[in-house]
């Protein structure tokens, strides 16, 4: 079988010049599919809470338990073996704040790219079919920095592609890291979600992911971030940006690795 992760030369789609607003009232359901507990809050927490406020069902299908993370809290309260259960509880708390139901794929953290993508895509497809969301959020393959992000981003794309044409949700992709570099290649994000009314809950959900965010909040609370840290915080608490992804347009996701 051809390896779909490397097939074909990467060609970028051109995205819109001005982002369209994200409108919860226009949604039938929101399904977020990302690999780690906390990816949902960082990338889409404000948007998830907006949908929940509008009575739109929100589900987070989380790929792994984040059990290979290296952040253990500050001061450290987790270790390699306790981290799995701690992050599972943190995720439950964060998603309770955001108004989202949690489901798990149960993959091993850091190992998503070594699974058979077709097999995992089939499981994701079944969840999409069951929940029938109007929008699915995944990572933008090739623009998501972490290998698990890129790999699951591609898997979500394959899952949406496997659905019959009339049953395909809109696929929104999150790009991570250097936003200027992403813009230079991808153009402006297609969709902008104004999270002004839900940013407090996004912050509460970030705090719920305590093992992963405590070090960040120590810096925020002491106002001790560097320039890069400040820019990250402004972006995190500003609007949430998404690229509209054509499920048939599979990029070579390993291309952007350093």
């Amino acid at each position: 079988m051809a390896n779909p992760t490397t097939a074909g030369a990467p060609v970028e789609t051109t995205h819109a010049a001005t982002p369209a607003p994200f409108v919860p009232a226009a949604e039938r359901g929101l399904l977020v599919v990302l690999p780690h507990p906390d990816d949902e809050t960082f990338s889409s927490g404000g948007t998830m809470a907006r949908c929940a406020d509008a009575g739109v069902p929100v589900t987070y299908l989380c790929g792994t338990y984040g059990d290979m993370g290296r952040r253990m809290g500050r001061p450290a309260f987790a270790n390699r073996e306790s981290l799995r259960d701690i992050r599972e509880r943190e995720l439950a708390d964060a998603c309770a704040v955001l108004g989202a139901e949690v489901r798990m794929l149960g993959l091993r953290d850091k190992c998503v790219e070594f699974e058979d993508p077709i097999e995992v895509a089939e499981r994701v497809r079944a969840v999409i079919e069951e929940l029938d969301p109007s929008t699915v959020v995944g990572f933008y393959p090739g623009y998501a920095v972490h290998a698990d992000h890129d790999a699951l981003g591609l898997i979500v794309q394959l899952a949406v592609r496997a659905l019959p044409a009339g049953r395909r949700p809109r696929l929104l992709a999150v790009a991570v890291g250097d936003q200027e570099a992403n813009r230079a290649t991808l153009g402006e994000p297609d969709v902008l979600s104004d999270i002004a009314h839900t940013v407090d809950r996004k912050i509460a959900a970030l705090r719920a992911h305590r093992s992963q965010t405590e070090a960040m909040f120590v810096k925020w609370d002491e106002d001790a971030e560097d320039e890069q840290g400040k820019a990250f915080r402004d972006r995190l608490l500003g609007g949430e940006r998404f690229y509209l992804l054509d499920p048939h347009h599979v990029t070579g996701y390993e291309r952007n690795r350093p």
């Binding site: 059990d67 253990m72 809290g73 270790n79 390699r80 972490h146 890291g177």
Partner: protein, 117 residues
């Protein structure tokens, strides 16, 4: 976890000698190094639930500490270890943490396999 007590860790290593034990050995820079000022690629490796038997296991160094396990056909080695704990499942967990509390290295031994997701 607690700061490494060499005598306590040595006793734990001695207690696990000459019997098959499951090993978790890991070192990690984290996956986001490319976002740092030096744009370095991540360097990460782990082995989980490989079975080893060692005749001699020693913890050494002034802190951070090193551990070496002498196997019949080779070695297990880790440097940079700062903290340890024996878990409720009787796993010996040794780890190194940097000044931010991030895990940099781990060496763990257990008679039972370590949990999988």
């Amino acid at each position: 976890m607690h700061p490494i007590d060499r005598d306590a860790v040595q006793a734990e290593l001695d207690r696990r000698r000459e019997q098959p034990v499951y090993l978790h050995l890991e070192t990690t820079t984290g996956s986001y190094t490319a976002l740092g000022p030096d744009k370095k690629p991540p360097v990460i490796a782990f082995v989980r639930n490989a079975q080893v038997t060692y005749a001699r296991g020693v913890v050494t160094g002034p802190g951070p500490y090193r551990v070496g396990l002498k196997l019949q056909d080779g070695w297990v080695y880790a440097d940079g270890l700062t903290d340890f704990v024996v878990s409720e499942r009787d796993e010996l967990l040794l780890a190194g943490h940097d000044h931010d509390g991030y895990l940099t290295v781990a060496l763990q031994l257990s008679a039972q396999p370590f949990r999988e997701a």
